[in-house]
């Protein structure tokens, strides 16, 4: 077998520029063939998903909105080390670190915490590299199906800690679940 005739995919076709015969030039046969191709689809199963009633099943590796985790005692995990911002290919993450005050021990797990933690949702590509980079298990991409909602102001696409930090109740529930196990 010579190299020209090898077809790895099995779909190789040699282009021919031969003149069409009279029957082919009438196009009627081709049109009838085309009509039969389309009419076959009349009886096919429809691929439509009736959106509000049915929701498309997400892929198991789907990554939704970010969340900054709390531990079982409700303290924020993030220490504002900046590794997530460093690993972010879209440079969507910015933060400002602050030192924990003695009376804030119930709020933050370590001495340093993120005073400001912002993700620009217009830039974020949900790649999950922040999650991988985080040494403190602080940032997670949830499976939440609520993606970034539409908005009129660009400022509203910058999600601060108010939108990102895990709600306290959720942390409580997680702690309870862990104790139950």
């Amino acid at each position: 077998m010579s190299i020209e005739t090898i077809s790895l995919s099995g779909r190789k076709k040699v282009v021919s520029n031969k003149d069409m015969s009279f029957v082919e030039r009438l196009y009627l046969v081709a049109i009838v063939k085309g009509l039969f191709i389309t009419v076959k689809h009349l009886f096919r199963k429809k691929v439509t998903i009736h959106y509000p009633e049915q929701v498309r099943e997400m892929s198991p590796v789907y990554r939704g909105q970010h969340m900054l985790k709390r531990d079982e005692q409700g303290r924020e995990n993030c220490t504002a080390c900046g590794l997530c911002a460093l690993s972010c290919p879209a440079e969507a993450i910015t933060m400002k670190a602050a030192e924990r005050k003695p009376d804030e021990k119930h709020l933050y797990r370590e001495e340093k915490y993120a005073e400001i933690y912002e993700i620009n949702m217009l830039r974020c590509i949900f790649c999950g590299l922040c999650e991988e980079a985080c040494p403190k298990d602080a940032i997670y991409l949830t499976t939440s199906k609520v993606l970034v909602p539409a908005n009129y102001n660009r400022e509203d696409f910058i999600f601060g800690k108010d939108k990102l930090v895990m709600p306290l109740e959720m942390a409580m529930k997680n702690a309870q679940l862990k104790n139950a196990n």
């Binding site: 191709i37 389309t38 009419v39 689809h41 009349l42 199963k45 429809k46 691929v47 439509t48 009736h50």
Partner: protein, 350 residues
């Protein structure tokens, strides 16, 4: 003229008008459904079961939309355009035989608004006035693109009308009459004209696609070259009239194809039904058969629309002038030779 006759004809006219309207209305729904099904989608399904109330919702939307007039030199013509398109599309249904006859209240009711002996000429005449609707609308829009769309539509319709008329002549030579009623009667049994004049049928079919401005010949409207086409500047119900006229003329031309070539209301065994079951049952079945044929051709229009891409303008003209017209002349000659042979054979006593 006796009053019963007038009442009878008025009822037929009102019913025919209503049926044409309803068919055109539901063609818009059917078009969207067929398009969806051919593309593995579902189509309109929110308004009513299977979206059956969609035409009403569309109508309400079109009626309540803002009426927009461009800065046109003649506002009157701007309104007259869609009106002409609509009325010509509806006028043709007057001469179509919807069935043979019903026997009601001791009278024979002929299911046809009027039986004129030049019905075919009348149809061609009215259809060719329809081009004025598009032409006037395109011109009064005061928009170069609309005018270009209108010119394209006009030249396309004029060229295809020639081939259409010539293809009809072969049929006329065979049937010897222009009355659609007589043509229907001649086709009783299975003597459908399509078996005797297949080429004529093919040419007529292609030309009626062009005449109704349907894909693959919808050169009058073209988003990528002409923004919208002749109706770019139209909004609200005036736009709705143009679209409605297209669907009405699609219904009419499906009817004409069924009547001329597919036997109209005739179905195999109709004579037997008339003798054994009764005139009324047989003819009601005949009306149903005619509507089944019409619905098939409406479906065919839609089927072709979602299969074949739009022609280029020079291809359209090439097909019309250099293929269809010579073909129909050849068809006339063949028909003439066959008729002549037949006559000579009859004369010589074979």
């Amino acid at each position: 003229m006796e009053s019963a006759f007038i009442i009878e004809k008025s009822v037929v006219i009102v019913v025919v008008f209503a049926v044409t309207m309803i068919m055109a209305m539901y063609s818009t729904w059917a078009e969207r459904k067929v398009a969806a099904f051919l593309q593995d989608r579902v189509g309109p399904n929110r308004a009513g079961w299977g979206g059956l109330l969609q035409p009403l919702a569309d109508g309400m939307k079109l009626f309540s939309k803002e009426e927009f007039f461009p800065n046109t030199p003649n506002k009157f013509l701007f309104v007259v355009g869609p009106a002409i398109a609509m009325s010509t599309a509806l006028m043709t249904s007057a001469v179509i035989p919807w069935g043979d006859r019903l026997h009601l209240f001791g009278r024979d009711i002929i299911l046809q608004a009027t039986d004129i002996n030049i019905a075919l000429l009348y149809i061609f005449g009215v259809l060719s006035v329809g081009v004025y609707g598009i032409m006037i609308g395109g011109w009064a829009s005061n928009n170069k693109f609309s005018l270009m769309g209108a010119i394209r539509a006009a030249s396309q319709m004029v060229s295809y009308e020639v081939a259409m008329g010539l293809s009809m002549i072969a049929l006329l030579m065979m049937t010897g009459t222009m009355s659609l009623r007589e043509i229907s009667l001649q086709q009783s049994g299975m003597n459908w004209n399509v078996f005797y004049q297949p080429l004529s049928f093919l040419i007529f079919l292609i030309c009626s696609f062009a005449e109704t401005n349907r894909t693959p010949f919808d050169l009058a409207e073209c988003e990528n070259e002409l923004i919208g086409g002749y109706h770019t500047e139209y909004s609200s119900m005036k736009m709705g009239f143009y679209l409605f006229a297209e669907y009405a003329s699609m219904f009419i031309s499906s009817t004409i194809i069924s009547v001329l070539f597919f036997g109209g209301y005739n179905y195999p065994g109709m004579q037997w039904m008339v003798e054994n079951v009764g005139v009324n049952t047989a003819n009601l079945l005949g009306i149903a058969v005619l509507f089944a044929k019409i619905c098939f051709f409406i479906f065919f229009y839609m089927w072709v629309r979602w299969t074949i891409p739009r022609f280029r303008y020079d291809q359209l003209m090439h097909l019309g002038w250099r293929i269809l017209i010579p073909l129909s002349i050849v068809n006339i000659m063949i028909t003439g030779i066959v008729i002549l042979r037949h006559d000579i054979a009859a004369f010589l006593g074979f």
